[in-house]
């Protein structure tokens, strides 16, 4: 195991930030920590990095207990903080070189690694720029470069795509997959479920410091009863028509809100055709109609009773 967290408890006064959290991460995995803001993702990461004191639990990294002075372990960890952590007075190149130099003392090796990571994050044209002159997306890329330049075996990315434009976001996500292909184990925290679904092999959903569910995205979706969601955009649906839809076979719930009819059905049933037949028969005018498979948000909603994005 690259990381093993067992019964981790962290309190901030009366607030229980981590409630007996346990998980293990295997070598070569991309492990996602998914949860709403304030769920304890960053607290868990800071405990793993030995930045935060915790009240109870055990943390091992690369099979060794993690401590603030475990420099051999730290040498193999790369961290990309949620907040951009670079010096405003140093250029892009100098920032990367500085942080890489805290891990790599050989000058020529460092130079090679810095140039490689600059190519990797696509900052080649901006090496002489100061951070304040960079856009939000480029700044995030610099933040990532500073964390991974020394080629760590374990990379921890804490919400690296917050406030990033779609182009930079895709570049970052592609980069993470490439790092994983090159052999790095990745811990990725986010409250964006689509990102986590896109890149993570295994996902732990947490809320209020507790594990809600862990597994691959298919395993997680298999844990809930929802099979299909059909949405009909229409402004002319009557109460009687809604009652009739509720009586169709396999339908578990129907909700009509903001001119959107949301029809949910259980696992193993496909009701799109049945719903379309009903709409035609009732001559209901509609704008769009579409069917979706369950998302991680549905998993979160069904288990906790609230939306992930809340």
């Amino acid at each position: 195991m690259v990381v093993r967290v067992k019964n981790l408890v962290k309190r901030y006064g009366d607030l229980l930030a981590l409630d007996h959290l346990s998980f293990s991460i295997k070598e070569g995995e991309i492990f996602g920590l998914l949860g709403p803001n304030g769920s304890g993702k960053t607290t868990a990461i800071n405990c793993i990095l030995s930045l935060l004191k915790y009240d109870k639990g055990e943390i091992e990294v690369f099979g060794q207990p993690m401590r603030p002075d475990a420099y051999d372990i730290k040498r193999n960890i790369g961290i990309v903080m949620q907040n951009v952590a670079v010096y405003d007075e140093l250029t892009v190149y100098q920032n990367i070189d500085y942080f890489c130099g805290l891990y790599i003392s050989d000058k020529s090796t460092r130079k090679r690694l810095v140039n490689e990571v600059i190519d990797f994050v696509g900052l080649g044209e901006f090496t002489g720029f100061y951070p304040k002159k960079l856009s939000g997306g480029l700044l995030r890329r610099l933040n990532i470069a500073c964390g991974i330049a020394h080629k760590p075996k374990l990379i921890i990315l804490d919400e690296p795509t917050v406030a990033v434009d779609p182009q930079s976001r895709n570049k970052i996500l592609e980069g993470i997959l490439e790092l994983n292909r090159q052999g790095a184990t990745i811990i990725y925290t986010s409250h964006y479920m689509d990102e986590v679904e896109q890149i993570c092999g295994r996902i732990m959903i947490i809320d209020r410091g507790r594990e809600i569910a862990t597994g691959t995205k298919d395993e997680l979706k298999a844990m809930i009863s929802l099979g299909e969601k059909i949405t009909v955009e229409s402004y002319s649906i009557t109460e009687n028509q809604i009652s009739s839809i509720e009586k169709l076979p396999g339908i578990t719930s129907v909700e009509y809100k903001n001119n959107k009819l949301m029809i949910k059905s259980g696992k193993g049933t496909n009701n799109l055709e049945t719903v379309l037949d009903f709409i035609r028969k009732e001559n209901i005018h509609f704008g769009r109609i579409y069917s979706e498979m369950p998302t991680l948000n549905d998993v979160f909603l069904e288990i906790t009773g609230k939306e992930l994005r809340d």
Partner: protein
Amino acid sequence: MVFKHIFTYRLKCLLRDHENIFWTLFFPLIMATLFNMAFSNLGSAETFKPVDIAVVNDEQYRQDKNFKSAVEKLSSGDDRLFNLSVVSREEADDMLKNNIIDGYIIAGWPIKLVVNQSGLNQNIIKSFTDNYMQTVSALNTILSKDPGKLQNLINEVESKVNYVKEVSHSNAEPDNILLYFYSLIAMACFYGGFFGMREVSDVQADISPVAARVNTAPVHKLKAFIYSSAASIIIHLAEMLILLAYLIFALKIDFGSKTAYVLLTTFIGSIAGFFFGAFVSAAVKKSEGVKVGVLVSATMICCFLAGMMYQDIKYIIERNMPALSYLNPVNLLTDAFYSLYYYDTFTRFFTDIAILTAFVAVFGSGTCLIIRRRKYASL
């Protein structure tokens, strides 16, 4: 190797921190220039300039030998009271009208004084004429009542004795204005606290994201702090040398002849300022704005108590609360500089330096004790 890496990058960082450089270098230089402008005017204002007067050259003036003699005596020599012109009434009026003289006197009894405005110089002329008439009147009264005592009175009037004499403790001349410049240097030394504050901020993971990143690196936290602090202290010392050079060579401020000791004082003051800021930053568990506020307030209060804004406060504290003057590091620095300038012996200087060194040890070890913690309760 790590030392060189951290040290060189730290130099680059700090030298490009324009705000910090302004407050620690340019602000004291500007203040020194302003002090110099203000105090050079003060110096010239203190130099007495003889009052320009005229006496009307009429029959009464020519006959009143005593008055003529008194006016001429006060209008001769380097330390004369008046620049005297003996002219006709018309000429005197013209001179007064054209502001060539501050007033003119017409001899006789009573003596008449003509001025066209009130002011210090006019008061001086009036004081002279009043004093003269009072003395003459007293002499006439004594002469008429008891002529035998006249000689005693004349002797007393002629032998006015100044009972106060300025005596120097050393070869140097007492110069209170220097205290302002010395306290300015002390203030600049303690503005080095901004460097100390930044060093602590950049190594405390609960203060800045950059510090959190540094804390996750395989580098000992205290070593990282010491390496980058070395860069800060060197930059601040260089700034202090620039300030000293500006004061000595451009503004001609006299530091006496003990240059090596002046440099030693600046060096210790600079380090004391650095660790003072580091200690404030480490001890005050508030936002960066609050820390800066505490540092600036503490420094300025110390400067005020050392006499930077109101010189007498230094002596009031020394007289009424002597312990406080030893607990104020800015005052110790000011005092050390002044001791070097004024006293021929080093007793007072080395006392100041010893206490300042103790301050460095307290602030330095206090800072290290606080920041040595390597895990945080919250980030």
